[in-house]
Each structure stands twice: as structure tokens, then as C-alpha cells.
Symmetry: C2
Subunit: 621 residues, 2 copies
């Protein structure tokens, strides 16, 4: 991987920072967040501004360019990747390490007195604006909104914003009509005396209207806003997309069943002026919800006296708690996904000795096998297919220049997933096709112990995910090891593979209590820079747990794995497992064998079935 050469781009950006065409007064620093106007994690090519300016293309990171410096903040998943993709004009700021300054502290330490720091108000979240602005002004500087995006001014061949075909989802997949969802939402609004709600997150809009798109690779969403009132529904979307008769019928555009369920459609770009109009007509005490992660630009349209900024929206929570139809659909998607992976591993065993299998070819093969499954739509994120040292790059994506060949001598890690009409998958397995070293096995076993500790955890109703994070690390910590990423994220149902408001992480922000029906990943890991990476990831469903006692009638929860792909026994040092952990592995493999075996049989995939049966032999006591 060779770094992007950024000398000329930085020169142009620094000129723009002084150009009166874009700004009234020169700015001394410019912040380039990684999001789009919806604060999406994955973004369309037209929004990859941070990658454009610095070369780093991971999913999380913020670049800041000053007159003298250029720096990029990202987290532990991306330290190696970022250092390889950026040239030496850039300083990598490793978030989470004690010695790393925050963006605010760094700016304060290097800016001349009374500096102005610019940012595009559409791509910075309101809460980030607020804290950054506060920190800067308390040090005598100021944060200013630059209406023209300065990256766009120097980005000559910037792609056009996408506008893909919309897919309508029926009750069979969603369990609830969009009208049901709007009505339930209005119930929540009424409870809190809220008369309007500005929906800005793309997955919330897709979920609410039971629509999907493909504007952003891997995430089946489409660019839109919605403003929901107690008796209004305003949808802002490229009007061409609504010409499709299926969409017209789905949204009842011509013949709404009830007046309060009539959707008014507006062009995507008119959200700003329409929101101004709605705000202008508000009665004195009326309140409007907007997520504090919505763009600063849109948030500031709502007068403070009417604004109720919330850390996560009721749609975000409603979407996170899957209904029985969605749970059933997710289970089906995971069975199909496991079929594809069993087939893949059986194929790999046969092909690797021939010496022609590479990280890229495995990723392609995995996609091909998944695409053979019913209702396959696409991948849910770029496949991480990594051999040996590449495995230590936590969010590695194989490129021709980094592509390594799989062998019998190195650990192989594959983290992949797909979008099916019935659900979203995300699974990581770490395997060795020859003989792993004792150290590799030791580390793998600690990771497995962590994975099991979370998956088998029993905890009271109302527990937040961050309280489970240390369970995943205890075995690693005991030996002085750790991993620099969270343990799990929420997973959407044919939606974003990362979603809020729950998760399992040492970070505690935006962490709502786990409840039955939520779906999260369980993915501890261990990464030895320059040598190998290990991660074991299942998607798990939160379910009620049966316990011996029931303190204060609170009830307990635990997890049920939805991912049903064997965990390689060869990588386990079984001496390090407790009896309970062995039983967990054996039970898990029994379920894999029964559930996936039946489907492999049905699909007539004999080689994969043989592989599955061999890989799910119980660990002897």
C-alpha cells in the first residue's frame, strides 16, 4: 500500500482557507470529518472528502489541516492502515492512547491567538460542533461554519451524488407496515409532548418507510430526510425515485388511507427551507425532536426554545428491538450465510495447497457463494480477508498491492457479511490451514474465552452493553494482552451492519440498555502487529435467560448466537478452557451441525456438509 501524495492538495486547501470567495476572513484550521450530511458511517463516493484529502479510507477518522500542520485522528482498528495510506505531510493521532491529544487540545496547543477554525456545518454533528466550539472559544478561538465545502472546491472530479432505485419491503420481511411505524412513533412523540420530529439518519428513514436503496455501498439506504408531525409526514427525496409505481403504491402517494398518513413529498434539497417554514409556524410551546448527532446546519434551523435535542431517537431504539418477523428473517439470513461460509472453508482446504488462493480471491469466492443464496442483495461491508501480518490491520481490505497468498503457514482471518432481503450478516472466523504455533493457539484461546464469556453471560434486564465489555477481555488481560476496539455493535435487519443505540464497548456513550430482541455482534480479538490477527465474531440475539432466582422480579437476559459457523478446533488450546467453556463450544457446534447441516443437505452441498460434520466434532473431556 503506497501512501497518497498530498503536497499539492494541501497547498490548494490552504489557499482556499484564505480565499475570500469562500470565507469572509481567513481561517487558520479546517476540519474534515468523515461523515456525510446524515452523519453516516459508510458514505457515498461523493462524500469521501477525508479520504480525498489524506488518503486514509477507513470508516472512522477526522482530518484537520492548519497553515502548518495536517493531522488525522482515528481509532485502534486503523492505526496501521492509516499510517500506510498517508504520506509524511500527515501526523497520525492514535485515539485511545494516553499520550494522544484530543482534536481540541491539539488545536489549542498549536493555533496562534484568536484563530478561526472552519468546518462545513452540514457534515459536522450538532453535538460535536457544540463541544468543539466550547473548547475553542474557552481558549480564545472560534469555530466558524464555512458554507462552501472547501474540499469540494479543490476536488476536480468529485463524483455526483447517487440516486438509486428504491426497493419496497412487504410485511413478510418487516412485520409492521410503515403506517404502523409512523403511528407508534407519534405515540412516543405524544408521550413526550413533541409535535415534530426531524429524521436525518438514513437507516431510520429506510426502516420507517420500509424502503431500501443502494446509494451507499454495503448499506441499503437512500438519501432522504423526513419531518414527521402529529398529522403530517414530509418526505424529502429525489422526486425521480418516486415515479416507480411500486413505490407510489407502497407509500400510498395517490390514495392515502387516512389524511394523517398522507405523505407530502419534497425535493431532497428543500429540507432546509421547509424546516424553516415548519419552525416559523410553531406555536410558542411546541417542541421539535432532532438527534444531537444530526448536522449542525439543520439543527440550528430549529430555534433553541423549540428544539429538543436527543442523544438517540425513538426510531433508533424501535429499529434496534427486532420484532418476531424480523428475528425470524434474520435467523434465515444467517443460515444461508453459514451455508456459504461452510462451502467456502471446504473449498479453501482443497485449494490452498495449490498455492493460488489469495486474500482477494477468497473475498471474491465468498461473495460468489453468498450470491448463490436466495434474496442475496450484496455485501454488508468490504470483506476483510487477511493473511498473517495483514490480519493485524483490524479493518484491512485487501488491495492488489497488499494481496497475500494463503498458505499452510500463516493464520487467516476473514470478517465478512452480506445483505439479504431478510437480514444482514457479519461474521469473523480465524483459521489455520497448517499447524498453528503454540502462541497463536494461546492467543486464539484467550479470544475464544472472551467471546464465550460475553455470549454466555447472564445479566439483569436493563443492563447496558458497556458493562459486559470487560468479560470479553478478562482472559487477555490476565496475560497482559488486550485489543483496541469495542466488543460489539448493533446490527440492522437488511440495514446498516453497524447501528445504535446499543453495543458492547468500553466506551459508554450512546449506550442504551440491552433488551430482548436486540441484535449485536460479539467480536473480541487480538492483534500482533507484523504477525497475525485473531478475531472471533458472531451476531447474537438478546433473549430472556432462565435463572435459578429472580432478584426483585427484574428478569435476566442472555444471548443466542444467530451466526452458526464452526469455530476452528485446531486453533484452540483446550487445556486453557474450563469445563463450562468446553460445553459451550460443544453445544454451539451441535447447533451448527443440526441447523446448517439440514440446510446444506437441502441445498445438496455435499462437500460443505462433510466439512461441517468434521469441524463440529465435540471436544473430548
Amino acid at each position: 500500500m503506497s501512501p497518497k501524495i498530498t503536497v499539492e492538495l494541501l497547498r490548494q486547501l490552504r489557499q482556499a482557507m484564505k480565499n475570500s470567495k469562500y470565507i469572509t476572513e481567513p481561517i487558520q484550521a479546517y476540519i474534515i470529518p468523515s461523515g456525510d450530511a446524515h452523519q453516516s458511517e459508510y458514505i457515498a463516493p461523493c462524500d469521501c472528502r477525508r479520504e480525498f484529502i489524506c488518503g486514509f479510507n477507513g470508516s472512522a477518522g477526522t482530518a484537520i489541516v492548519t497553515e502548518q500542520h495536517a493531522a488525522l485522528w482515528t481509532d485502534g482498528r486503523y492505526f496501521l492502515q492509516a499510517s500506510q495510506q498517508m504520506d509524511n505531510n500527515w501526523t497520525l493521532m492514535k485515539m485511545g492512547l494516553k499520550e494522544t491529544p484530543s482534536q481540541e487540545d491539539w488545536l489549542v496547543s498549536i493555533l496562534p491567538e484568536n484563530s478561526k477554525v472552519g468546518v462545513d456545518p452540514w457534515i459536522i454533528a450538532a453535538d460535536q460542533w457544540k463541544s468543539m466550539s466550547k473548547a475553542l472559544s474557552s481558549a480564545g478561538h472560534s469555530l466558524v461554519a464555512v458554507q462552501d465545502n472547501l474540499i469540494d472546491t479543490i476536488w476536480e472530479d468529485r463524483p455526483a451524488p447517487p440516486s438509486t432505485k428504491l426497493i419496497t419491503l412487504g410485511l413478510k420481511y418487516t412485520g409492521l407496515t410503515w403506517q404502523d411505524k409512523v403511528t407508534a412513533l407519534r405515540g412516543k412523540m405524544a408521550e413526550r409532548k413533541i409535535s415534530w420530529f426531524v429524521v436525518t439518519a438514513l437507516d431510520e428513514i429506510a426502516w420507517l418507510f420500509n424502503l431500501r436503496g443502494s446509494d451507499i455501498e454495503y448499506n441499503p439506504v437512500f438519501f432522504a430526510y423526513a419531518i414527521i408531525g402529529i398529522s403530517n409526514i414530509k418526505l424529502f427525496v429525489d422526486s425521480k425515485r418516486l415515479l416507480d409505481p411500486a413505490v407510489q403504491e407502497h407509500l400510498e402517494l395517490d390514495s392515502p388511507s387516512k389524511p394523517e398518513l398522507t405523505i407530502q413529498c419534497f425535493p431532497y434539497e428543500s429540507v432546509y427551507t421547509e424546516l424553516q417554514a415548519v419552525c416559523a409556524a410553531l406555536a410558542p410551546k411546541e417542541k421539535m425532536w432532532i438527534c444531537d448527532k444530526a448536522s449542525c446546519a439543520l439543527t440550528q434551523v430549529i430555534p433553541k426554545s423549540h428544539r429538543s435535542a436527543i442523544p438517540y431517537t425513538p426510531l433508533c431504539l424501535a429499529k434496534a428491538v427486532k420484532n418476531p418477523t424480523e428475528i425470524q428473517a434474520m435467523k434465515m439470513a444467517h443460515i444461508k450465510d453459514a451455508v456459504a461460509l461452510c462451502e467456502l472453508f471446504a473449498w479453501l482446504e482443497k485449494e490452498i495447497p495449490k498455492g493460488m488462493v489469495t486474500e482477494i480471491s477468497v473475498a471474491d469466492k465468498a461473495e460468489e457463494l453468498r450470491s448463490q443464496q436466495r434474496d442475496f442483495v450484496g455485501l454488508s461491508f468490504p470483506t476483510i480477508s487477511s493473511v498473517g501480518p495483514n490480519g493485524a490491520i483490524i479493518h484491512y481490505r485487501p488491495l492488489p498491492e497488499t494481496n497475500r497468498t494463503l498458505s499452510l503457514n500463516e493464520v487467516y482471518l476473514i470478517d465478512s457479511g452480506a445483505q439479504y432481503l431478510d437480514g444482514t450478516t457479519d461474521v469473523t472466523r480465524t483459521v489455520h490451514f497448517g499447524t498453528p504455533t503454540d502462541y497463536e493457539k494461546e492467543c486464539f484461546t484467550y479470544v475464544l474465552k472472551g467471546h464465550i464469556a460475553v455470549s454466555a453471560a447472564v445479566f439483569p434486564n436493563g443492563t447496558k452493553g458497556h458493562l459486559l465489555d470487560s468479560f470479553a477481555r478478562a482472559a487477555l488481560w490476565d496475560s497482559g494482552l488486550d485489543y483496541l476496539h469495542g466488543t460489539g455493535h448493533g446490527v440492522g435487519c437488511f440495514l446498516n451492519v453497524h447501528e445504535g443505540p446499543c453495543g458492547i464497548s468500553y466506551k459508554t456513550f450512546a449506550d442504551e440498555p440491552l433488551e430482548a430482541g436486540m441484535i449485536v455482534s460479539d467480536e473480541p480479538g487480538y492483534y500482533e502487529d507484523g504477525s497475525f490477527g485473531i478475531r472471533i465474531e458472531n451476531v447474537v440475539l438478546v433473549i430472556p435467560a432462565k435463572t435459578k432466582y429472580n432478584y426483585r422480579n427484574r428478569g435476566s437476559l442472555t444471548f443466542e448466537p444467530l451466526t452458526l459457523v464452526p469455530i476452528q478446533l485446531k486453533m484452540i488450546n483446550t487445556d486453557l478452557l474450563t469445563q463450562k467453556e468446553r460445553d459451550w463450544v460443544n453445544d454451539y457446534h451441535k447447533t451448527c451441525r443440526e441447523t446448517i447441516g439440514a440446510e446444506l443437505e437441502r441445498q445438496g452441498r455435499k462437500a460443505a456438509l462433510d466439512w461441517l460434520i468434521r469441524e463440529t466434532q465435540p471436544i473430548p473431556n
Copy 2:
């Protein structure tokens, strides 16, 4: 325990809420926080306003009185106690339960439109003022500062504020002179370009000046404020206290060594006007630190442009990380404390069968035995001495009307501690003098497993205590059990038994990373209302851990128990322990036997030594 009758008091308070003598416009609600002007947890009798109005005398709780309602919020430690101490004019709001509204939500739900909510700005912390004010104003109400405390206006025989003799502490106990501490503090201020720091927490002032007092029972602090500048030290304290020649000499009041280490003394009450004067003389960019837990009244003296509100102060952190002299002193205090407890348990075994030992008499005996130890000053909190069902009242304090007799049939829990010149102790043991039931043993063993899981935990440098909290609960959770309090708190060195900024709790606020030298408690429990309470508490020191590997050279930490009192083997169901847990118990008991045995021998306490030796027999494998 009979509840306090509050009909008349509430009538008077509600009159005061409309009395133009105190307020310009009537207020519809009045908030009575539990703190004093320094936001102390333990308070002097003159500050027990919340207890005065509602009867509940636990260490944490906030009362709110409206025209129609009176409600008291407290946490799980106090649900039972509060329900017993309050009459039916009061509604108990059980914090931490899902159905319990926050104070803000409750006020918003019951107040008439445009209400005014009053509070004494001296006894509400600035951060609480801010969030309460925001919540109320976003619902159309307002929070107003009532300068006359309305409780004081109806409290006829309110005690006078205390002004006790000051004790000076030499280097032998503190390891650092107050001049060293001021200089180190100024270093921290300079790093952050801070020119003034307003010290409001009583334990921070006591620690900084190496002085102690006894204004507040159990907490060796004295009423004072300090304002530290880069070249000024302003101390606000009752001037009579400075007449003592030992104090004069200690503070170098007559002959300061250096001009910048000269203490200017002011009357306690003049802090407000003196702070105004300091603020009036600030240069435009000068910044002043004040803790966001300081009183709203004092905080608002500092103009916003000069104010840097911090969640905890550098003194709080410096005080939390004990220096080698303090660690040695704390160890010595814990050895003496263990001697007293061994003697107590040996005495109990002999006396209980006679049927005359009560909760109160044990508490008295424990105090008597502690007072025989060198440098004993007093208790560090009211002894919790509880038999059977009283044990389920988490912060129970035996009173004549609740006093139960110890017997061979019930579980006995004693949570007690003392102040010695060399350190502060806090230890809980739960014991049975007859034969515990299987269920009692089962619960005790889960609690013990949790205690060990924390005490033996190995975790990376920089880990926050809240990440360890679930380790203490996992064994209980597995069986559907839990406890409704945090697992540990910071412990001062001959200072407050509860101190920040570190701790071990599911609550994550004000939780600074653990570092070597910090001292916290490890005290999981289980409480069965109406039956028994179990808690096992040691004070533990954070120390570096030796690990097999050392990921990214971060280093690891673990805990060393300072408390060395046997854990009753009779209460343990050893079948439920893992080998590692048995080894921990055996190692711990070996250390108790060696360290405390030697001191018992030196003090010639034969009966206690025999008891210790018997109680520290290893668990057989």
C-alpha cells in the same frame, strides 16, 4: 424505627415558599439537597436540612416539596431505611429502578405551567443547577436561587456551625509538606494556563494544608475555602482556629519561607466577596479553575469568560494517588484495625451464647477495641452492625428501637472503620455464629466470588474502575441475583472514607482511570429483604501486576488487599469455588495469619491470636 411526623413542618415550609420576606414571587417547588456549602457527603448537624424536613438520615438523598407533594430520591442502599423513616406525606423515589422518574421529569409532570422551583444556591452543585435549570426551562418552568435557606427559616433549634481544634500533620504521615503540595498544584495550573483555583471541597483543603479538624463527625475535615493563585494563597477559615501556636507554626503564618508561600488568612464567610475582588482584578484572558461540583453560588461569582469548570480537581487526583509514606501509613492503620476486629470476633464467639450481645453493644465494643490502638482518632463512619433482616438495610445503623440481639441462628453483618492519624479503614465481614443455611452459604459464596474476581483482576494501566464492576456481579447474575450499589469507592488517608475521583461502579460519571497508589474498596454484597444481608469488603491498593506478556508496553495493574481480616470459612460453599478462587482465599488467609498474627503476638492478645489461627486454616483441595 418510627417515621418522623412532618405534617406541621411541611405546612410551615409551604408557607415560607409563598412568603415575600424570603422570595419576591411564590415558588411552586423547593429542592432540599443533602449536602452543605462544600457538597460534602457527610455533613455537620447544622446542615442536616433534608433529614430535618423528611426524617430520612441516610448519606444520600434529595427532597423536593411542592404545594401538593413531597418526595425523596435516594439509591438502593437506602430504600428500606428511607421507607421506615418517612411518614406518608412523603413519596419514596427509588433511584436506579426503571419506573422511577428523575427529579426533573417528576417536576415537569406535576408542576402547573410556568412554575418557579427554588433552591439554596450554596448547597446545590453548579453542575446539578445547570442540568436541573435546563430541564425545567425547556418545559417552561424556571429554577430560582433562594438566598435565605427556607429550611433554616422554619428550623427553630438549628445547631450552630462547628469550629473544632485543628490538628497539624507532619511529614511522617503526609510524605509531602503543604508547601510541596502547593508548588505541585501550581505546576498543574501552569500546564493548563490557569492562574487561580478555587478550592471548595473540605477534604482537598485538609489534604493540601496537611491539617485536619473534626467539624463533621467521622470526616476529619474543617470548614474552610482556599483560593490558590500562582503567587497567592488565600485561606478562608474561622480566625479563632489560627490562634493555636502549632497551627501558626505549621502554616508559617508569622515567618513564611517564601513570598509565594505566604498564606493570607480571611474569615470563612468572606470567601464570596474576596472571590469577587479576585475576579474583578483578572486580566482579560486569565482563567480560574473551579470544580463543577462546587456550589452554584460560588461558581456564578466567576464570570463565564474566566471560568474553567472541571469535573474533578487536580487536588482530588493528587490526593487519590497515595505516596509511599501514605501507603505505608495506611498499611499500618489496617494492621491495627485488623487486630481490633480479630479481638472483636474472638470476644463475640465467647459472648453471643450468653444472649446479651446486641447490634449496639457490638458496635460499642468494636469502637472500644479500636480505640485501644495507637493513634486512634475516631470512627470513619457510623458502624453498620446488623443481625438478620436488619442486614438487608444496606446502610443500617442500629438504634435502640431497632436493636436486635446476636444469636446462633442469624447472619451477622458488620461494616465499620476508623480514623487513625496514619490512615482510614473500612471493612465489612458477614459471619454466622451457628450453622448458616445452604441458601445463605450459596449467596455468600457468590458474593465472595465477586469479591475475589475484582481483587484478583488484572487489567491494563489506564482502565477505569467502572470496567471492573461487572466482575463483582457475574456470579450473582448467573443465578439471577444482584445488588443495588456500586462495588467500591476511593478511600482517603486519614481523610474521608469516601473520596473521588476513582471507584468501581456501574455508574460511570467522575470515574478517572485507576493507577498504582490509588486505594479503593472492593465490596460486593447480596441483600434479601426481610431475611439477611451479605457484604464482603476489603480496602485494596492498586499495584502494578506482573503478566506473561505486555501488550504495547502499557503495563498492567491489580489489587493488593490492605484489609487483613479473615473471611469466615463456615459461610463458604467451597464446592462453588474454582481452584483459583480457593487459592486466593488460602493465600489471603496466609497473609492475614502472618501479618496480623505477628502484631497480635506483639500486643499480647492471645485469644484473638488463637481465633486468627483457627480462622485462617487453608481450605482443603
